[in-house]
Every structure is written in structure tokens, then in C-alpha cells.
């Protein structure tokens, strides 16, 4: 393998039902930064079926070129079909770097491809940069997030990594950007197709135990009373979540102890923690700061909860929560 033959930063563009996933645009944003450092191009691999229409979107989001891989075999994601198409495209275009979203699709396809191409893959990267030797430096958490490691794949190409949704920043959409769209036609070997998709089902999420819940809508002093908590419950119902509480509202007798989050309550680590009217005492933070994603709504812009929140909204929960509930319930109804 001659490293010099491999050029360009390539992004695997994930689509579901023809919808380009946000993570792909985030990867294009990062790819743009990396490619500019290398003085190379950003190329989007866009596999799917009848999605040619949206290919120019990828140029607006930072791609110099889109490789459109259009085939009925690629309508739904299935490992082998996608592996055949993508490995042939990689063999043909010889990318230096290939980025994939760390989704149930990217984390299934990435290792299959890396193994087929006999190269390295680094999962769930939180940082990507270019070294002095022009190699990709991939930083990721290890040991349950207790440690970070920076990893190189300097002797093999392509250098591959997956990145979780929401980790990288999108660039700025520019519809006037110019780029080329090229078709790539893979040749499939159907004798290897051993998996058939029978059906894909979308379902609401949510459980009862607050430590088991994937989504928690949590209320504090700002929610004030049981009428306030009824608003949180309505929101939780819409997103398939569970209502929890800060200590203040438990001590006030508004909420039961079993839903209390914090040092004297329960430690939770949901996918989404929505802190509504919670100021964020250190004991409360200790019980929830490991949540994957934290949205906080509070009137006081200096509330400590904003120090751990991924998204902080300065505002009144009594106004924002009902509006959010209404809008989300329309969105959810439209999905069904």
C-alpha cells in the first residue's frame, strides 16, 4: 500500500427513508476543517435509492464532490448490501480518511468495512485533528469515560472513525457552493445476501423506574406545585419519558421520594435529562451530570444547572414546557 495514493476526506452519508441524517452534516462540517488543513477535498459517499435530488444539499453543507451510489439494493440499510457497495467505492476512490456516524448503522457498517479493507477503525471519536505527519489523530473516551485516548492509524489507509451524533458542529449551509455529483455503480453479489428486512417499527420510548428511564423530565422549585408537575407529565407522555424531581419538591411534599434525583435520591444517567426550574445544587448535579444529554430551562441565567447543561434555555418553564409539549405532540403525530 502506498499512502500517497490515498487522498481526500470522505463522509459516509447516512439516510433513513431518504432523509439525510443530521450526523452526516456534522461530519461534513468536521471533514471540511480536516480537508482544509490537508489541502484536500471533502467527498460525500451517498448510498441509497432514488435520493439524487438531495445530493446537492451535501455540497451546500461542505462537500466538494458527491459520489452518488444509487441502487434498489440500498433502499434500506442491510449490512452486506451496504458493505459491498461501500467497499467497492472505497477501493475505487482511495480515500485517506473515511468518517461515519456512530449510529446503529455506522457502528454496524464501520467495523465490517474496516475488516474487509484490513484497516483500522476508531469508534465514537470525540475529537479529530491532523498531526504534523498529516495523519488523523482520533481521540475517544475509554474505560467508561474515565480516560481519553488519542489513536493513530499511520500505516494503513483509509483511516476510519465513527463519531456520535451531536459531537461535531455542522458548517454553515451555503446553497451557492459549487461541487460535482458523480455516479458510482457497484456490482452486487446477491449470493451473499443472507439477511432480509421483514419490518422496521418506530416506537415510543420510556419506562417507569427513573434509573431505567431513557428520558427524564425533572422538576424543581421553579415548577412550584402539582399543577406545574402536571405540565411536566404531559411533556413526558409525549416523548415517552418519566417525571422526576429535585429534593426541594420532595421535601415540600409535592413529589414522592422514589422519583428524587440527587445525592440523597437516585443517580440517573438517561439519554435525555430535562431539568425544568431546577437551579442545580451540587447534590443534585452529582445525581444527573452523567446523563448523555442535558437540557435545562431556568429563569436565572446564573443557575449552576447551566454549567452541566448541553442546551441551556433562560426562560419560564410554565410558558416553555406547554409550548414544547404541543409542538412535540404534533411532530410525533405526524410521524405515525
Amino acid at each position: 500500500m502506498n499512502k500517497a495514493d490515498y487522498k481526500g476526506v470522505y463522509v459516509f452519508v447516512e439516510q433513513r427513508d431518504g432523509q439525510i441524517q443530521s450526523v452526516a452534516l456534522e461530519l461534513l462540517g468536521k471533514a471540511r476543517v480536516l480537508a482544509d488543513k490537508l489541502g484536500e477535498n471533502v467527498v460525500a459517499f451517498y448510498p441509497g435509492y432514488k435520493n439524487a435530488e438531495s445530493a446537492k444539499e451535501l455540497i451546500a453543507w461542505g462537500a466538494d464532490k458527491v459520489v452518488l451510489i444509487d441502487a434498489p439494493e440500498l433502499k434500506d440499510y442491510i449490512t452486506e448490501q451496504y458493505s459491498q457497495a461501500m467497499s467497492q467505492a472505497i477501493d475505487h476512490y482511495k480515500p485517506s480518511i473515511v468518517l461515519l456516524g456512530a449510529t446503529t448503522i455506522g457502528r454496524d457498517l464501520g467495523p465490517r468495512l474496516a475488516s474487509r479493507l484490513e484497516t483500522g477503525l476508531t469508534a465514537d471519536c470525540t475529537g479529530l485533528d491532523i498531526s504534523e505527519d498529516r495523519d488523523l489523530m482520533m481521540t475517544r473516551p475509554a474505560f467508561g469515560g474515565n480516560l481519553m485516548a488519542t489513536i493513530l492509524c499511520s500505516e494503513h489507509r483509509p483511516q476510519m472513525s465513527t463519531v456520535r451524533p451531536g459531537v461535531m458542529q455542522k458548517g454553515t449551509r451555503d446553497a451557492s457552493r459549487v461541487g460535482e455529483i458523480e455516479n458510482f455503480t457497484p456490482s452486487f453479489d446477491p449470493s451473499k445476501f443472507k439477511v432480509k428486512l421483514v419490518k422496521a417499527v418506530k416506537e415510543e420510548k420510556g419506562k417507569i423506574d427513573i434509573t431505567e428511564a431513557k428520558i427524564l423530565v425533572s422538576g424543581g422549585r421553579g415548577v412550584a406545585n402539582s399543577e406545574g408537575f402536571a405540565k411536566l407529565q404531559a411533556l413526558a407522555d409525549v416523548v415517552g419519558g418519566v417525571v422526576s424531581s429535585s429534593r426541594a419538591m420532595v421535601d415540600a411534599g409535592v413529589m414522592p421520594h422514589e422519583v428524587q434525583v440527587g445525592q440523597t435520591g437516585k443517580t440517573v444517567r438517561p439519554d435525555l435529562y430535562m431539568a425544568c426550574g431546577i437551579s442545580g445544587a451540587i447534590q443534585h448535579l452529582a445525581g444527573m451530570e452523567e446523563s448523555d444529554f442535558i437540557v435545562a430551562i431556568n429563569k436565572d441565567k446564573f443557575a449552576p444547572i447551566f454549567g452541566v447543561a448541553d442546551v441551556g434555555i433562560v426562560g419560564d418553564v410554565h410558558k416553555i414546557v406547554p409550548m414544547l409539549t404541543e409542538k412535540l405532540s404534533k411532530l410525533m403525530a405526524a410521524k405515525k
Binding site: 483500522g120 475509554a142 443472507k194 430551562i297 433562560v314
Partner: protein, 260 residues
């Protein structure tokens, strides 16, 4: 049916602490456990054994003391245990690990290969699919339910971000399993006694069908350049907006994270 389950012995990462002065991992006193997703995979294998009859072989790669997780597996009901242990395996990344495991599987008979989705000390979720590729097997990852339909055909349920998929698979195949799908059984008292009398087969690298260059550090395309402790989480973005716009910001962020 012959089922091979790949398991890993891992430090219980929930018990790992960081030395506040030296910023290194404190490993002393951290218990070693069977990786939770692997244990879920073993449970799937044992349920298939209960329902349709199967011989369940557990295999692990690790130091000699990894023998313990294999004995635990035997005490849960596995029939045969193989420990791949050799200095040649040291320093392996996911690709080199998958080469070693696939090299062992190539000299064994199987109708179904099961791994956990990912190990809690690395969280990569790569070894299963990489093995499937080496062995030329179809794979389904994120499996939470599985029915055997006879004639080497399976119906599996795969968890996705927003629901699930039902897939029909023609075996032999490889599944990576989620602990949430299979609540593992306890060790059986009678089997615990047996487990310590049973032989755990020790296999060195020479017993595997794989070239030595593909093992350990030599066979690893990725290398750790440096390791460091995590900085405290930076605060996210703060928005001071009208309620309508604030609601739109929240919805957009939730979509990005696949939460809605």
C-alpha cells in the same frame, strides 16, 4: 446446533476511580466481571440450548486469569470452554483481536456465533462485526430477541435508535447481543462444583488458523498515541430567546441526538 459465544473479562468500569493527583486509573481493588453484553449473549445461547438443543462453547482471549469468566459460563450451563492465551496476542486492537478469535473459530464447528454488542472497557462494538467479516458470515448487531425457525433460519429483533427491526437470517450467522435483551440466569449450584472440575482448554496462537503477523501489536493498524484523563465537561450553549424560538432550539437539538 453448535453455538460459540465469545466473552470478555473486563474491569467493572463503574468501580474504576481516577487518582486525583497523578490523573491515572486506579485499578487496584477493581473487580473483574464477565462483560454484561457478552453475558446477555451467553443467555441467548443457553435459551436456545434449552429450547431446541445445542452445544454451547464459550471462548475468550485474555491472560490466564480470564479462566474465571469461562468457569462462570460453565456454571451457567455452557458445555465447553476455550481460553486463547499467548504473549503473541498482547497489544491487540479490535482488528487483531477479531483475527485471533476468527482464527480459533476456523478450527471449530459452529452454526451460530454470538458476541456481546460491546465491552464496557472499550465500548467499540467492533470485534463482533470484524469477526463476521473474516468468517464470511452474515451479521446482525444490537440483537434483543431471537427465534430459531429450524433449518438454520433465525428471526431476530434488532434494536435501533427509534424502535426496532425484524430480520430473517439464514445461518450460519453472527449476532451481537444487548444485555438489555437477555437477563442472564444465575450460576447453578451443581454446575458451579462441576465448573471447577471441568477442563478449560488453553489454546496458544499456534493452534489458530491465522498468520502470526495478524495478531497482537503487529496485527493492529491502530496505535494509542497518548492517554489522558478527561477534562471536566464544558458548559453547553446558553440561549436567551423568546419562548417560541427556545422551543424550536430544543426540538432541533433533540432531533440531532435521535431522541425524538
Amino acid at each position: 446446533m453448535n453455538i460459540i459465544v465469545c466473552v470478555k473479562q473486563v474491569p467493572d468500569t463503574t468501580a474504576v476511580k481516577i487518582d486525583p493527583v497523578k490523573h491515572t486509573l486506579i485499578r487496584e481493588g477493581v473487580p473483574s466481571i464477565m462483560n454484561p453484553d457478552d453475558k446477555g449473549g451467553l443467555e441467548l445461547a443457553l435459551e436456545l440450548k434449552d429450547k431446541v438443543g445445542a452445544k454451547v462453547t464459550v471462548i475468550t482471549m485474555g491472560p490466564p486469569q480470564a479462566d474465571l469468566v469461562l468457569r462462570e459460563a460453565l456454571a451457567m450451563g455452557a458445555d465447553r470452554a476455550i481460553l486463547l492465551t499467548d504473549r503473541a496476542f498482547a497489544g491487540a486492537d479490535t482488528l487483531a483481536t477479531s483475527n485471533a478469535l476468527a482464527g480459533a473459530l476456523k478450527v471449530l464447528d459452529y452454526d451460530l456465533v454470538i458476541t456481546g454488542r460491546q465491552a464496557i472497557d472499550g465500548d467499540t462494538a467492533q470485534v463482533g462485526p470484524e469477526m463476521a467479516e473474516h468468517l464470511g458470515l452474515p451479521q446482525v448487531s444490537y440483537v434483543v430477541d431471537c427465534e430459531y425457525n429450524g433449518e438454520n433460519k433465525f428471526t431476530v429483533k434488532k434494536e435501533t435508535e427509534d424502535g426496532y427491526e425484524i430480520l430473517e437470517v439464514e445461518g450460519p450467522a453472527l449476532f451481537t447481543v444487548l444485555a438489555s435483551g437477555y437477563k442472564a440466569r444465575y450460576m447453578n449450584v451443581a454446575l458451579i462444583v462441576d465448573a471447577f472440575d471441568k477442563e478449560v482448554e488453553i489454546w496458544p496462537a499456534s493452534k489458530l488458523d491465522i498468520s502470526p503477523e495478524k495478531l497482537g501489536l503487529k496485527g493492529s493498524p491502530t496505535k494509542v498515541m497518548k492517554a489522558f484523563t478527561k477534562e471536566t465537561k464544558p458548559a453547553g450553549q446558553l440561549y436567551e430567546l423568546e419562548p417560541e424560538q427556545a422551543v424550536d432550539v430544543i426540538i432541533e437539538k433533540l432531533k440531532e441526538k435521535f431522541i425524538i
